[in-house]
Symmetry: C5
Subunit: 355 residues, 5 copies
Amino acid sequence: MRSPAKHRRPKHTLGNAPGTIKYMGNREGDAQYISVTDYKENYINVQEFTSIEKVFTYRDTDTVSLIDIQGLNKEKEIEKLGKYFQINPLVLEDLVNTNQRPKVDEYEDYIFCVLKSVSLSASNKVITEHVAIILFKNSVLLFQEVENTVFDGVRRRISSEHGRIRYKECDYLYFALIDAIIDQYFVVLEDITDRIEYLEDQLYNHPSSGIVNEIQNIRKEIIDLRKNVLPVREISARLVNTEHKLIGDDTKLFLGDVHDHSVQIHETLEMLREMSMSLMEMYMSTVTIKMNEIMKVLTIMTSIFIPLTFITGIYGMNFHQIPGLQSEFGFYIVLGLMFFILILLLVYFKTKRWI
Amino acid sequence: MRSPAKHRRPKHTLGNAPGTIKYMGNREGDAQYISVTDYKENYINVQEFTSIEKVFTYRDTDTVSLIDIQGLNKEKEIEKLGKYFQINPLVLEDLVNTNQRPKVDEYEDYIFCVLKSVSLSASNKVITEHVAIILFKNSVLLFQEVENTVFDGVRRRISSEHGRIRYKECDYLYFALIDAIIDQYFVVLEDITDRIEYLEDQLYNHPSSGIVNEIQNIRKEIIDLRKNVLPVREISARLVNTEHKLIGDDTKLFLGDVHDHSVQIHETLEMLREMSMSLMEMYMSTVTIKMNEIMKVLTIMTSIFIPLTFITGIYGMNFHQIPGLQSEFGFYIVLGLMFFILILLLVYFKTKRWI
Amino acid sequence: MRSPAKHRRPKHTLGNAPGTIKYMGNREGDAQYISVTDYKENYINVQEFTSIEKVFTYRDTDTVSLIDIQGLNKEKEIEKLGKYFQINPLVLEDLVNTNQRPKVDEYEDYIFCVLKSVSLSASNKVITEHVAIILFKNSVLLFQEVENTVFDGVRRRISSEHGRIRYKECDYLYFALIDAIIDQYFVVLEDITDRIEYLEDQLYNHPSSGIVNEIQNIRKEIIDLRKNVLPVREISARLVNTEHKLIGDDTKLFLGDVHDHSVQIHETLEMLREMSMSLMEMYMSTVTIKMNEIMKVLTIMTSIFIPLTFITGIYGMNFHQIPGLQSEFGFYIVLGLMFFILILLLVYFKTKRWI
Amino acid sequence: MRSPAKHRRPKHTLGNAPGTIKYMGNREGDAQYISVTDYKENYINVQEFTSIEKVFTYRDTDTVSLIDIQGLNKEKEIEKLGKYFQINPLVLEDLVNTNQRPKVDEYEDYIFCVLKSVSLSASNKVITEHVAIILFKNSVLLFQEVENTVFDGVRRRISSEHGRIRYKECDYLYFALIDAIIDQYFVVLEDITDRIEYLEDQLYNHPSSGIVNEIQNIRKEIIDLRKNVLPVREISARLVNTEHKLIGDDTKLFLGDVHDHSVQIHETLEMLREMSMSLMEMYMSTVTIKMNEIMKVLTIMTSIFIPLTFITGIYGMNFHQIPGLQSEFGFYIVLGLMFFILILLLVYFKTKRWI
Amino acid sequence: MRSPAKHRRPKHTLGNAPGTIKYMGNREGDAQYISVTDYKENYINVQEFTSIEKVFTYRDTDTVSLIDIQGLNKEKEIEKLGKYFQINPLVLEDLVNTNQRPKVDEYEDYIFCVLKSVSLSASNKVITEHVAIILFKNSVLLFQEVENTVFDGVRRRISSEHGRIRYKECDYLYFALIDAIIDQYFVVLEDITDRIEYLEDQLYNHPSSGIVNEIQNIRKEIIDLRKNVLPVREISARLVNTEHKLIGDDTKLFLGDVHDHSVQIHETLEMLREMSMSLMEMYMSTVTIKMNEIMKVLTIMTSIFIPLTFITGIYGMNFHQIPGLQSEFGFYIVLGLMFFILILLLVYFKTKRWI
């Protein structure tokens, strides 16, 4: 099993100068996919390109341009883009560094933020993807490693002629992308909650040792999600209070909503964490209680039959002179004695509430 | 068993534009119930309506109007209301979103807050209800999913001719509604305390494994309540310090009291949580101590009778030549030996304080 | 056993308007006792009254007047007092609400504070009493449920002709009363410390399962004390930094001392809590270690005698042809074999350090 | 065993007026020892006195005077001193109150601080001593209960003709005394670390139940040290940022170093606490793992020999007609059967990885 | 095993005046190694010296000079250096004090910081080294105990003709050195993560008691790393916000990146800590579950064979008159009875889900 830890910075980057653009992911062979969605109120144009230079023209158009770059392994291309858009090399480094912690950096002409989008795989594993977004005056640059269904809703709203998004500026698009990522966290949390509830049911009905592994897996996922959610809370808090010229007051209201959601996600995570810990504790108490029961059965069985067997042993000895062996009723008297001892022991265990 | 988790945002809302008014609860078939309680010092008028438009006239009257809307599934109606009262779409979205975390938002002409009212069902389960309240200059809008007995006291005070509430403005009514919700938390906490005390008694007198489930249920309820109470603390703190024109200094004094109560509820919750954890720990220690006792009985019984049985085994062997078998006193000598061993073992266990 | 939880707000108060003066305690039948201690440098006059109106004259005298009202169940009387002294109804409500959390509220003409005095009953239980104190310019109102020995020291110092308190204003009396309450916490903490130390001794010498209950009782008392001490810390911090005209700079110095003490009490409580938890942990480890020892005895006894008994069983079988049965030395050879096995097993257990 | 708790304020002080000078320690019969070390750059004079009045002259000399008073039980003498040096009665109260929590109080003409010096006794117990220091313009008053080797280093540096301390003012002496106390904490921490490391070694090589007591003792010492160290952190932080005229900028730099050390001590304490808890956990896991091993031996022995003994029992029954008893090979066949069962069971336990 | 605790301040330093330059490490016999790397855009000169005086000339050159001093045991030499560079004695003390906690101190003409570099030894142990760096206007002083490969990358970038570092000032070099240290932490964290993942795998496949020691070792390493990382977070935060003339705005941007990394390291450490605790918990639950299984086998074996053996005992008694002994089918009837009891017990255990 792979641990979800994503903090790695591979050894060969050590010694590189800061600002060196070095892709850190593991999709090095993939091709790059570039598309631009250019729109305003009554106009929309979606185009795909193979060369990065084609998108340069969209920097200065009056329309809102969503420039979508999938594949971060082409460091050269990204460097060219960075040069044209006058992006700080440190930003470019963080952009392709798939281990970068979520963060927001405000520069004079643009706002850069790194986020982690989450989604559920077919086998219900949480998949975390690195997403970087840069807001310019007339365009939004969106960087991802692979195509991500997270943004499908935003694209659909852009396509729709009467979508509010068509009447708004770039900052609203920027917000809409972040909001789409945050929304996905709710889906993942819902899934974890379902699994915890299922385990709870299992625990009541068919407790098995597999539950421990399941609970530990959930805890690891929660630890991992928390690592990504905590910075999101800071990011949204900062965007709400930003003085940056690119973010309008109107959009700040919407960003306040995003902040509310990230706070809610964080609190839910803490709640799920506490629930998973309480579940684990409960399972362990189930195990201990069961062990008690097992021990009780063992003790009762042993305590009853060991003394009785001892008595049979006495009369099984081969002494020539054991009183009662010749007696006609000896056997029955001994049986009676055993029965009496049995009753005594049962009463004793009853008093102790063991049976 | 259903987990009390309420953080869900159903999947089909993903991709909706923010500000989309989408009911999130599960009472979709219910009819809407609308009533208005209009009053001033010497006048009161309670009316029920079936159409939302009828309440519009109450926005601008000089009297205090409590506009009570039960049923949040009629998104269209609420949108109409929102348009007439000029309520921000984001507010309308939160209003019908029954998963919305408690919060307060101040707008220029109104103050919006979401709270969770709690009450006890017939079977003593905690029922949480979504409540949204909007304070305007001359009216208070109250949104609920179903009729809620929580506000009966407020309504009674309004009806009473000499109630102080009749001499006060809308902000006092706003406070009275929030205060009524907070007060209910005390009832629920009282119930949880009673249950913890009952479990404590049980633990001393009839410890049974059912206690674990009971404790875990209480812990889940506490986790769930805390999720709702924590934001209330923030909300009341913020309302006390608000500079909003709609909240008078007089009412702030009363809101200070609400804040005191929410702090007290929060501290009590923490105390109950610690008590439930201490109860669990105590139960587990009871189980362990009991296991010790069981093991002691097993060990004493086994340690005494196994060596004795071994001796009977020796003299039960069929060797032709075992010394003593022919002796007249052989049997009694062996019995005496066994008795001696028994005494030795009892002394040993006495020394170890096991008996 | 009664839980020490005191957060209850009885159900019948729900729906009351805020500011309703409603006694919450359980001493409803008690008579009210009113006394006034009026003093200045060279004058002292102690009087008892049966009617509340008699104390009104002391509001405006130049002397310092300690107005002591015992019994909070006479709501009418307290309302009259409140009206004459122009006390806010919210204050009167908190005053008789014995469930009110400790707090301080500053009004223009007076400072109101609620505290919980603690003392030890004859059977060493912690008794918590509700105390409310209002500081006016020329008088201090002291409200209690019953007579409380906590303030005996203050009264004695007032009676003494050369007591510093006689040369000071009302604010010093106010401080002296609070200081007297805080001082009592040290007595209670001392008692808890003694009990923890006693349990520690017990644990070393005569560990018994009763210790668990004792530890849990101490923990509950600590939880309960903490609930009362935490707000006291806030209260004293606030009084030290107050800008209120009624509190002189001189008295603030003394209040700083009270604050120091409340911090020290809080830290000691945390320390005692940690000590009680460590004690519990130690007891449980004692139990586990003991169980280990018990299991060892069981295992050694069983492992030695079960194989030996098996051997006696072999030679106890009734086969006509078992080699050695007829031999003269058969019995001794088998005994020798058993002895050899015994030695082997003892060496094995020695190697494992079990014996 | 005595608990290290030192928070006691004996009962007979209750009811005393604040500012009452009442010694709280338990060295009431001791004589007082007074000495003055008076020095400047090129002059030093050490004198011992028996009467407190003799030191009064040193208040106003131009030289730096370290006035060292050992024995706090002579309340009268200290009151005289307090009167001459114009020290606030509250300060005098805290000075002789050996239960006083470490603190610093700034007055116009002097700075008062209480600290706890620690040292190791011959038997490696931590000894805590109450130390109070008052900084005046031209003298430093040092109050202790007994002679304390902690300050030997400072005295030696004063004696040395070329010590930097001789060229500095009173505030540097004040710092040097505090620094000497803080330095001693490192010695105690070093000792605790050594003991934890020793226990770790023991745990690996000769785990015994005595380790539990040792760990608990260490935890209690850590709890106790933390109580004294936490306020020291506040004190040093406050002295670094003080605006008091008596503390020069130069000395603040040195006090910054003291603050660094107190932070480091605090962090080390937290680390030691975590290490001791981890040690305890590890010991308990060792016990549980050992129990597992014991149970395994018991189960294997029992599971193997109980069925075999049962078989011998079958052929030991006295039925006249048991098939095979007469057979020549019966005995060997049954032995073979037993051997086969033995092999089966061993394979089973091997599969389960129990052997 | 050596504990990783590094807080020691050896006893013989007690009583030393603050500012005394006293080496605290354990490499007292080592020779000192001094080298200077002097460079600007188009010039580079690396030289080694044996005498400290040789480096003095580099203080005031226009070029950037990295003065690298390995070996802190030559207190005299360092004092000379300190005197020439006008470094505060307190700085010199901290510089050679290998127990000094990481910190940054800003002086008028230089900025001093202490850090701990980490690296992995051949046997994968974490090695912590004391590093002190002083930034002057035209030179950076780097103090280490031994040669450290941590800075190899920086040296390589300086050597490279087109490295950005060659075009920058001293503050950038200062940043580059700190960045190189921080980067190494990622390598160590990666190693710990790998080990935790490996243990996880082990736990699933071959749980053995050695895992406990491994987990405890990891926890100790995490405790130790945290002690060094926590102050680094403060240091980087402070350098980002510094107003010091020596740090340019450009470099602050890079230092912001260092701060991001130190935050990420800290969070990862917390995550690893939680993972290691969860691993421990999981191992202990594995042990408990296994014990349950063992007990089940023991109980089943015992409960089945003890009653059956008892029955054989009955018919093994030597009474002359036991009914059935003479019967031809007696033996088979008893065998049948035993089989019936066996079935009953198996059904019972099946009902209890033990088999």
